[in-house]
Subunit: 271 residues, 4 copies
């Protein structure tokens, strides 16, 4: 019984921590396995290869799936609260990495082929297992969270804008063979143009339409500045490396993170 706990503890350290050498090796092996697994899904989608190509991918796919299944079961076993892990973000992701392959076995009839195919493609969500290894993101994340309100207001404004612009272009261009066949399509065009993507599959051909489109672009040029400004000003704020620490002598704030003495009165700070 004691032995079992020791093994559990050791496996926990290997799987959930990255401090030990074995833990690091496990992490690297898992990353390689994930990337390998995604590569299989991608290669499977390539058209016109030989039968051997697809069947060897199918075989490797099952090897990978059982490896992920093993990883999931071991994780469930070694954590103290299995249910909590199973319901956590990474628990669900780990489960989603296995399920599609097994569910695929159920839908074997030919009329189920579309469901089967889509299910197998969902294996690409295994890529989310990699998010476990993003630590540095917290800083960026904080800035994005902080500017959440401003960005949603901005996106809301953009949505109102593209609705109006799309309809105006539809009024102007709908009689031409330029692709503005309905308002939703025209709004799609407005999004493509305002974001400066510009595929060119839909493009105005009348003089008035091109004039309007030019205005939309210059507008897009000017408002592309807004989200950038928001995030930058947030990031600058977050990374302004002053602490909220107060000098015990003169009670002044605004000390740098590396300050040991108050820059206003020379008193030692309580670092």
């Amino acid at each position: 019984m004691k032995d079992r706990f020791r093994i559990q503890k050791k496996l926990y350290d290997i799987i959930f921590e990255a401090d030990t050498k074995a833990g690091k090796i496990f992490d690297i092996a898992l990353i390689i396995l994930i990337v390998f697994s995604i590569t299989i899904v991608m290669l499977e989608s390539l058209p016109g290869r030989s039968e051997v190509f697809y069947s060897s991918l199918y075989f490797m796919e099952w090897v990978v799936t059982y490896a992920f299944l093993l990883e999931y079961l071991v994780r469930l076993w070694v954590v103290r609260r299995s249910l909590q892990y199973a319901l956590s973000f990474f628990g669900i992701i780990d489960l989603l990495a296995i399920i599609p392959s097994f569910l695929g076995l159920i839908f074997t009839g030919t009329h189920m082929l579309v469901v089967f195919r889509s299910l197998r493609l969902l294996r690409v969500f295994r890529v989310l297992k990699l998010t476990r290894y993003i630590n540095e993101a917290s800083h960026l994340w904080k800035a994005l969270i902080a500017s959440r309100n401003k960005i949603s207001v901005f996106l809301f404004t953009v949505l109102i804008l593209v609705t109006i612009l799309g309809t105006l272009m539809y009024i102007v261009e709908s009689n031409e063979a330029s692709g503005f066949t309905s308002i939703p399509i025209s709004i799609y065009w407005a999004v493509v143009t305002l974001t400066t993507v510009g595929y060119g599959d839909i493009a105005p051909v009348t003089a008035l339409g091109q004039f309007l489109a030019g205005l939309v672009m210059i507008l897009g040029y000017a408002i592309i500045a807004v989200p950038t400004g928001i995030v930058t000003s947030e990031l600058t704020k977050v990374s302004k490396d002053t602490t909220t620490q107060v000098c015990p002598a003169c009670l002044q704030e605004g000390h740098d993170r590396d300050a040991e003495y108050c820059k206003f009165c020379g008193e030692k700070l309580n670092v």
Copy 2:
């Protein structure tokens, strides 16, 4: 009489305020109605559907229009100064949400079809009713207003630039079948390129033209930085670390976090 005032007051709270539960329900219902109404306009523009599809949309359209009419009349009735509301931004928007449908009834002759169709499409401006619910924007708005002069100077410079670049490309490319058929079209191309949209319907084919276009793009790359810089520096300024502290003597705000004395009257601040 007193009853009427009480109803008026209650309706005012529901319609214009969002503090009460009824007010919140009204707001959500109105938002759903607006989105539903816009969806109708969009669906109507889809080509090649059945007769039933269009006529049921036409019916729902009138339901929505009468709902907006009712809302407009109630708003007029419950506000203290009806005329002031009617002439305000939202008063006009609310009126514009109803008028096109009724005006459409007048232009029924077949030769009026274009006017009729355009009028009905203008109903998409109902989307502006949603702007009532953007509050957070004030902060962004302030930054945009503050950088108004710089942005208009920037746009003015861009206009001068595209005029010259468009004409140069017209001189270089007008003999080729690359789409530079007139100066206005060439200016349109310059806008499309400088804003990095790049449809590709008009693109240089001569070596000199492509060289010039390359310069235009790198220029665009460099000057895309300018509006972003303007808005960011404005947003950073607005969100600067001034406290909301009020001077006890002159009652002015806007003091820096490290200020000990009021910068306007010299009074000691209560830090």
Copy 3:
């Protein structure tokens, strides 16, 4: 004689200053004339219009030209140092606004048609007369001048980058019918892609080419940040509204532009 000076002085105030009412009217009239003149050049380039259309434009063109000639001569007459004005930026621009029309009269032979046509198109540079009315630009200009070195280093790096990327894509794609027919064309493609313009007239078709192109785009995505960062940090610096003023009592700097009293010791500042 005294009369002549008085007229000269009065005309100077009208033409060069915008303080008086007459000066403002002159400015607006000149702006309208410039815009009208540019419009003529643009309309002339439209293909397939009637003979009357082109000849009436030709007539109006000469009216505008003589108006600009008159303006130029009056400016020369009323300034104290005529030569200095004639050699200044705006003196040259004002001259360039007239010359092409008159030079056009010399090249009348049919084999001179190309020169004649190009000359007439150069009239579009009249748009530069509008730069006289950009005042606010000084602020932006200062930021751009200050970041001149960094921007040229950046552009230099981009040039080295597109040369290498273009050549690599030429090696990979030159055997396909994807438009990479020579290294200069491939470099043109690299510029089009790195600046996110993306016409689509030249696009990779091989797997390796598309992989490389994807890398170029993500690279472009990352380095589009650099010029923006440069200009923003420069603009933030310029617009940081603190003066270099020193408090006469405590000798501290960092006072806001609107400060009247030292924020550190409360002493009155010498504003």
Copy 4:
């Protein structure tokens, strides 16, 4: 023997330093030679020119190669530690500028043509010899190095994002003739769209596909802000208003402009 050292020393000053007049002339001559050499490689790639055109380029190419060989040998001779130079970044670049031409002599058989051709094209890497002349970059470089972690996290996130988006679009669009023929191609499309390049060779045609694509674009619009924000905040930090003042006691730098006492040791600063 003494003479040899004197010549070596003099050549070193000319080649490695830019202080003397001879040194400046050498630098300019070398830059011209590099640009000339790159131009030759580019011109060689132009198709359909006369035999004389290619053979004269071939001749000039050898002249340039021997010039670079001479430069390399002299550099090896004049530096004190030849091996250290040979293994340094610029030593390798200088060697790479010569090798391809000579290696080309080995692969002369017709079946070696592809290798031969690729080798000759690698001469374009000579452009890297120009990086010797970028000094100002250090400032930008510092900001990029400092934001290295954040940018790689960002790129990692983008990679996960395009994998998922590409697969979703493949599920939605793979039955249409819109170019989404496999997952790798769809991921390539996601990169092209998210970076706002937008070639248009692959573009969604189904309503659901276009809706998804619209979301991708607005997402791209919002996250283009992130790298810009990172670099800008880094650049702003680097150029922050710290003085170059040195603490008289602990000799450390990096004090804020408003500091009166050293923040590291508490000593009074000489303001």
